[in-house]
Symmetry: C2
Subunit: 207 residues, 2 copies
Amino acid sequence: HIPKATIKRLAMYVQVLETLKREGSQVVSSELLARTCSVNPSQIRKDLAYFGEFGVRGVGYHVQDLIYSIKHSLGVDRVWKCALVGVGNLGKALLRHQDFKFRGFDIVGAFDCDPFKIGEEISGLEVVCTRRLKDAVKELGIEIGLITTPVNRAQRAANFLIEAGVKGIINYSPAMLTVPADIYVEYVDFFHHFYSVAFSITLDRHQ
Amino acid sequence: HIPKATIKRLAMYVQVLETLKREGSQVVSSELLARTCSVNPSQIRKDLAYFGEFGVRGVGYHVQDLIYSIKHSLGVDRVWKCALVGVGNLGKALLRHQDFKFRGFDIVGAFDCDPFKIGEEISGLEVVCTRRLKDAVKELGIEIGLITTPVNRAQRAANFLIEAGVKGIINYSPAMLTVPADIYVEYVDFFHHFYSVAFSITLDRHQ
Ligand SMILES: NC(=O)c1ccc[n+]([C@@H]2O[C@H](COP(=O)([O-])OP(=O)(O)OC[C@H]3O[C@@H](n4cnc5c(N)ncnc54)[C@H](O)[C@@H]3O)[C@@H](O)[C@H]2O)c1
Ligand SMILES: NC(=O)c1ccc[n+]([C@@H]2O[C@H](COP(=O)([O-])OP(=O)(O)OC[C@H]3O[C@@H](n4cnc5c(N)ncnc54)[C@H](O)[C@@H]3O)[C@@H](O)[C@H]2O)c1
């Protein structure tokens, strides 16, 4: 079992390595990668040790190789088809964001229950009624559902997604969801970033 | 020093306690709070111990008291004025989201460099040119900046915010920022949630 905090750091390493690759770097020293990610070089070695040996002594890491190895070990070196439920302000922003597809998470279905939204087209996708979710999950091979409905509708959206057969849910609403044991739910909390910054500024002022 | 992981859990406890309060609960047992947050009751006690003793033996926690205590200890029981730079898809969604203000983070300024966007009104705020950031930060007492520009413009936006006098930045772009030591930067990464779900589904299938 790999702790969530490790997965979060691995995602950050990939983000930084992809930036270095974009800028033309072939190798990166473990000190530079660690400094950019605000961790110790030993933490990186510990995190990667779950998957094998990667660093080259005296050189550091081969950028392209390391990106591939982390993605392959996490099972994210393939395309995952996703459905988004709740095409409001946040839902629209996520649908229009090309980086998800670029990173292998292809949102292939957009669902809503508002008759004024159904039929609208966002980034080439037609908004469809949530009742048609089951057919779409089967036809398009959708495995992950994104919930961007209001808080009091999130559980209903989750029930639709689970009944339709998705295996994982990313919940952007603050609702706590009740789901069967074999369904993975990731909660996205926007507030802890605000709390961290406010707390750090407050602490700084007191010292 | 309180670790980021603890701050993230404290933010989650507040989120869950506020939901319980909304539903009318006065007290909550440490087992229920722990189960809802997928942590051990001992982890909650450890996290709260940074600020004092809160639980009542045999009863659990007083919901209202605990919300106030956590928020007060983190310095988030007051209003923090924020400026948002980059009024695109994500920026607009954040500006329209009432929960931030409800939680004490009031976005009082929206800035962009696109002449077609300047002058537009979003949720009662007029979009203003980034060059006027300095005046706004002083006049409105802005302390936190939100960066929702494209990745290659994030550093420029950060420079504007720092020069204008903000003390903390929440960066929604994937760019790594270079800032002075006394400025707090929080990175928002949307991808680790996708990686976690994809990894959990993959692992499940292999077992
Ligand atoms: N906007 C943000 O920046 C932001 C930030 C943090 C968290 N959130 C959370 O994300 C969620 C969405 O926020 P928003 O600002 O986009 O809200 P919104 O009101 O703009 O959009 C919600 C959408 O969900 C649809 N909907 C309602 N019930 C539904 C159902 N049963 N099935 C399918 N669709 C349904 C509505 O028709 C609407 O289109 C909320 O839970 C909010 O708390 C949003
Ligand atoms: N849309 C999403 O759901 C999403 C998800 C994850 C991450 N992000 C990140 O958030 C950022 C914004 O994404 P988006 O989809 O809203 O992009 P967008 O292109 O829709 O919006 C960007 C806005 O920034 C403005 N801008 C550009 N340079 C500026 C400058 N120097 N000063 C002020 N404003 C400037 C543009 O005029 C535009 O209005 C990106 O870095 C993206 O990677 C977005």
